[in-house]
Symmetry: C2
Subunit: 315 residues, 2 copies
Amino acid sequence: MDNNPLTTDRPDQRPMTNDLFAGIEAGGTKFVVAVGTGPDDLRAETRFPTTTPEETLARTVAFLQEQEQALGPLAAIGAAAFGPLDPDPASPAYGRITTTPKPGWAQTDFVGALRQHFDVPVGFDTDVNGAALGEQRWGAAQGLDTFIYLTIGTGIGGGGLVNGKLMHGLLHPEMGHIRIPHDRQADPFPGTCPFHGDCLEGLASGPAIEARWGQRAETLPSDHPAWELEAHYLALGLATFICTLSPQRIILGGGVMAQAQLFPKIQRGVQTLLNNYVQVPEILQGIDTYIVPPALGNRAGVLGAMALAQQASAH
Amino acid sequence: MDNNPLTTDRPDQRPMTNDLFAGIEAGGTKFVVAVGTGPDDLRAETRFPTTTPEETLARTVAFLQEQEQALGPLAAIGAAAFGPLDPDPASPAYGRITTTPKPGWAQTDFVGALRQHFDVPVGFDTDVNGAALGEQRWGAAQGLDTFIYLTIGTGIGGGGLVNGKLMHGLLHPEMGHIRIPHDRQADPFPGTCPFHGDCLEGLASGPAIEARWGQRAETLPSDHPAWELEAHYLALGLATFICTLSPQRIILGGGVMAQAQLFPKIQRGVQTLLNNYVQVPEILQGIDTYIVPPALGNRAGVLGAMALAQQASAH
């Protein structure tokens, strides 16, 4: 895999200029805001907890204004946010976080709050679409036009590119909420999703692991049976995404995937579930480079937001 | 819904010219071959059973040669075929039906057989991608850039467009082979899929219905419990595709969907499964125009093939 950000012949992946971009990783528990020209040239970064929309967005704006004074004008701003949100510029609700259950945040006009202070292009998308775009530009999906990025953590979310563009359609994917087979004799845990009970997120998110086993996921030893079960559910999800989308690669990030022992289990599980039906070398022989961690690691979020800024400035 | 093929402002959906296109609907049991300028101007059509590749393709070629003599030269040929197949022009196996279990057809060089006799652009894709393209051009998906077309019949297959282009990725989707929850107490039937047992196709294809209930699906009365169960499985599949792809519309064709009573059951089932999580009016209020039959009806296959021809000639 070629991870050199300057080596590319794709017109939409040209090398970074000296333009300054701001990336806002807007998570449900913390915000990370960075300014720079690219992953190897981050000039400033800050992080703070997500409180009320007013306070959190004001802090974001203040930080970016300080950086403009110190470093010069921003060329564009990108925000990769928790959702659901409206990423469609043609929609009346564009730029808002919409129906989130997160207290205080429903219908927050995120882009509007930025536009009050900055007269530059703003990119706005889901955290996972942002991370996917960052991985395509600088990470584990360079040269690919159809792939997905999943985060397995507090929730399970998925995004990606299909035919070279970010996935939107009607709104945006909600990959964590697919239903998967759930053998209640083997695993009587009913699932944690308030909407769907035992959907993929309800069975396999970090909080689901904690609720099922009575201790936080990261405290379970690496040979605990929790991980076989977790890999089984994630493999079921991935097999579904493969049959539905035929992605060229699947990138798995998020806190739960810090458990590196999950990768081989998931890879083998996907092969077993597909049972040689999808006859492509990527799955039959190359699954260890087909299902991979993000190359940008824990910077995938904020760099993804910066990639959204770069994309917005190019439009 | 606007079904007038001449009413469109999309550049890729311009009105047909006088160019003659050939469409080949290559099904596992029959071939349909047609020549014309568009859906309202089919000049010739034939159908014959699918036998050996040699015989069936020779018959296809002979028919097209006759039409060229009678009507003039073809501008392009499109083939929409059963699969799996290789639709990637950059691949060594491009133009082949690849690993099909259909006797004699594995590794058939479909496009090569046409190119031996015709020096025109050839479009080649799955039957469902072809049908999706036809519905976008002339049918139930006009103006949409992200939607799926599913056929529920001898098998279950799915294709579509995402971001305005046909779905390919690694190969092409195999939507019939997703796993869905299967309550074996309510439905002990083990499924018919030789690869996966109780995947969606294994539980809900026409042969699955026949094997479960001991009589052909079309002979079951419309109030038979078979249809509630069928709608439940299809709703599970559709909810998964909605969460994964966020399509702007879902078109359901194929022999099983001739049972019109399935549509309202599936529509209600999808709403129940999503449980107001995806807050868009298309699903919350407009589901009767969101999950729809093909506007091209049983001509979707051959017109889809003709749309592939038209697309190939425009490239």
